[in-house]
Symmetry: C2
Subunit: 117 residues, 2 copies
């Protein structure tokens, strides 16, 4: 599960983590784990682990500032993931269209009496 795509999707598959990510998105200045833990229902340590996982996936960046560490959102990999999805979706649409065309052609070239079943 260590490839790029996997870690991004895995990171976004947890609601707590998505919530943290969204909070980072709302705050371009970044947030600390302690701040985020205040309006969360889990411990600071749990938050830290989530943030590290987000950072590892490239969805966040940790920047030390004195005695605190601010996590900022990063959306480069979001673009990649989004592209991954849309490429496949459109490829699927093309194949589906081709399939439907094929069915139409087959029907047109078939003599009425040669119909199967």
């Amino acid at each position: 599960m260590s490839d790029d795509v996997s870690v991004v999707f895995a990171a976004l598959s947890d609601p707590t983590r998505r919530s943290l990510f969204e909070q980072l998105l709302e705050q371009p200045q970044g947030r600390t784990a302690t701040e985020l833990a205040d309006n969360a229902s889990v411990s600071r340590q749990a938050i830290v682990k989530h943030l590290q996982l987000l950072a590892n996936a490239g969805l966040a960046v940790a920047v030390r500032d004195g005695r605190e560490v601010r996590y900022r959102a990063s959306t480069d990999v979001v673009q990649h993931a989004s592209a991954w999805l849309s490429v496949r979706a459109s490829a699927w649409d093309r194949r589906l269209a081709a399939l439907e065309k094929g069915v139409r052609d087959a029907q047109n070239s078939r003599t009425p009496t040669s119909r199967r079943r």
Copy 2:
């Protein structure tokens, strides 16, 4: 983890599952678990579980045909997931632009001597 977004991302976070999904995308007619297990390194049962998970996430549809079950890809939720990502990415870009503008404005209104540090 039972919300829609989570299950889709979770489904796509596993490489084996993504590979299966891609195989389904290549074959609009669908594939059976047994077929897919032939060019996979894991057991048929493992494949079946993955396919059921994909189906549960809305990424595949199982259609019974006689004694076999064909799994077809389905891309509706892919659109949703892709939208989820791009909405956030663009919101982020807007906030970042606003932040940069704010910094610029602050610099402009600041007298040279009032610079900190």
